[in-house]
Amino acid sequence: MAKIRIDSLTKEFPGGVVAVKELDLDVPHGSFVALLGPSGCGKTTTMNMISGLEQQTSGEIFFDDEPITRVPPGRRNVGFVFQNYAIFTHMTVYNNIAFGLKVRKEGRSKADRHAEVQRIAEIVGLSGSLDRKAGRLSVNDMQKVALGRSMIVKPAIFLLDEPFSNLDAAFRAYMRTELKRIQHEMGQTMVYVTHDQVEAMSMADRIAVMNLGELQQYGSPDEIYNRPANRFVAGFVGSTQMNFLPAALAPSLAAEGLTNGVTLGIRPEALELVPPDDPRAHLRATVGLVEPLGAKDVVHLDADDQPVRVVSAPGRRPHVGDAVGIACDPGRVLRFDDETDMAI
């Protein structure tokens, strides 16, 4: 277990590309932090700097208040699980898992190593496959090997770079719960990179949302979801994207009569479809498309050429072309300044 403190971390590549810009981040002991953002936002680069595979241009990283810039990757005591597993395909599963022990001069006897490998194989569920050549495993098993290989050296910090994105959906869900379970048991600090906000929301204690190399917001899933700091975070998180409406469109929702230079952000779940002349309606719209998703419907509407999405219960499904009113809970309306994109 270790805590990580990132201080003003910057990575600039030759040619002027700034992948990470002055990142400040505090990862407490034993917590699970997700780095969330679209491709190219700098999350993988940040991970590489934490692990030591890349050197920062400026700024510092501390493990337990010790700066680790000059410590080579092999000595930082981190575990790293790659998106493409990067297991040693030409070795057996046994040798993959045992690798970390074999190359560290820890004076362990071969019997000790053997016991450890068995133990880890048990935890990740590979006890029966130890003799198989790693290159011939199924994708799911490869991921288990990658995990086991990293776990065996008991790293203080675990770094995972989108480890489940190549797995099939059912196994992905299973692995998420497994990972949380392992983390609770072993108490490791985990930093988890993903572009999938569902993953981040379900697994992390705290989420660091990044975009274009800059930290957008760092907080609990609840904070990120309900009190996004800016328009990017608001739009990025949420399975059906948040609606952004110019305040002028629904003046009844704008605060204190502010209608210029403000954009309203409302989650589709906070909206309700009502008859067009219902007094509760804050604005009127026409139904464009209805997506039946089983437990809910996503209704795409057009209000004055402005797309609006509403999540409604499947009971009262509207028809394409219907004129409807949209009602909203004013307490759930977010406001964003048009110039800075920050929440007001």
């Binding site: 936002c41 030591g52 092999g74 990067a86 030409h90 994207q241």
Partner: protein, 330 residues
Amino acid sequence: MGRSEAAVGQAVITPGQLLLLFVIAFPAVVAIYISFTGWTPDSGEPWYDAYKFWLWFGNYWEALSGSPFWAAIWRTVVVTVLAVGFEFLIGFGLALLLLKQFRGRSLLTVVFLLPMMVVPAVAGFIFYMLFQTDGPVNAALTFLLDDILNLTGPIHVGWLTNPSIALYSVTVVDIWQWTPLMFLILLSGLVALPDDQMNAARILGASWFHQLRYLVLPMMKPIILIAVIIRAMETLKLFDSAWLLTQGGPGDASSTMSIYLYRTTFIDARWGYASAVAILVLIMVSILAMRAIRPIEAASQETIEELATAEPKDAEIPIEQALDAEALSR
């Protein structure tokens, strides 16, 4: 496969088969015939009357029981093992050094390629000049060891005149010429190694030595095998550069099998005996080829397999594209 396809297939390889017949089949038959006789062109008889000098297996017996034949084989093996060994070590070291991209690497690669392009006969001639007892190699060694380090007196090694050394001089020429090929082959192998696995090993604490022993060498095995086998095959046939360098001398100190055969044919003019030796060589080479073909085919297969299962490298998606994709997926 359709009949027309099979017909076309046969048609296109017929000229090739004819050439093979011409170059292998007929010579083999003639050589076998002559090898059972003691015929030489000096005898005055035309070749098809060689039966007049019938010896049964006399030539074969002479070759297999006599030392010149085995000595020539031994010398050839020595040159091959030393040359291929050093070519591999130096080539591998060079490939490791030039692995990371840096400015001027392409220029350096060209420089290291040049020896391979030199006509082997000319390479032999160049080293003939260099290895003269009065020549630049000795002069440079004298400068280094005598003038600077003061370890020895002036150096006058008889690279070409000393029977104990001549064979190794021949080896040096081959090393100079063909290390670049090893370098190229091994470099192409190293470049294809998956970065992620190397990084994973680094994070687990593997030193460069560990990475070499557990990752690089095992993954390079097929390529190394192909390179070594092919180079060895070619070195066994060595003639051109060695001939220009020493003509097999002094005496027969540097007579590899090809040179030995040449001298038996054109200097001793013993065509019957030479034919027997040639047939023996052909048999040995065929056995080697049969042993070699399987590892080579297996190795090429393995290379293909490894490339197929290796993880694709992460693509660098421009930020705008990525955001568009995200927006579209909503």
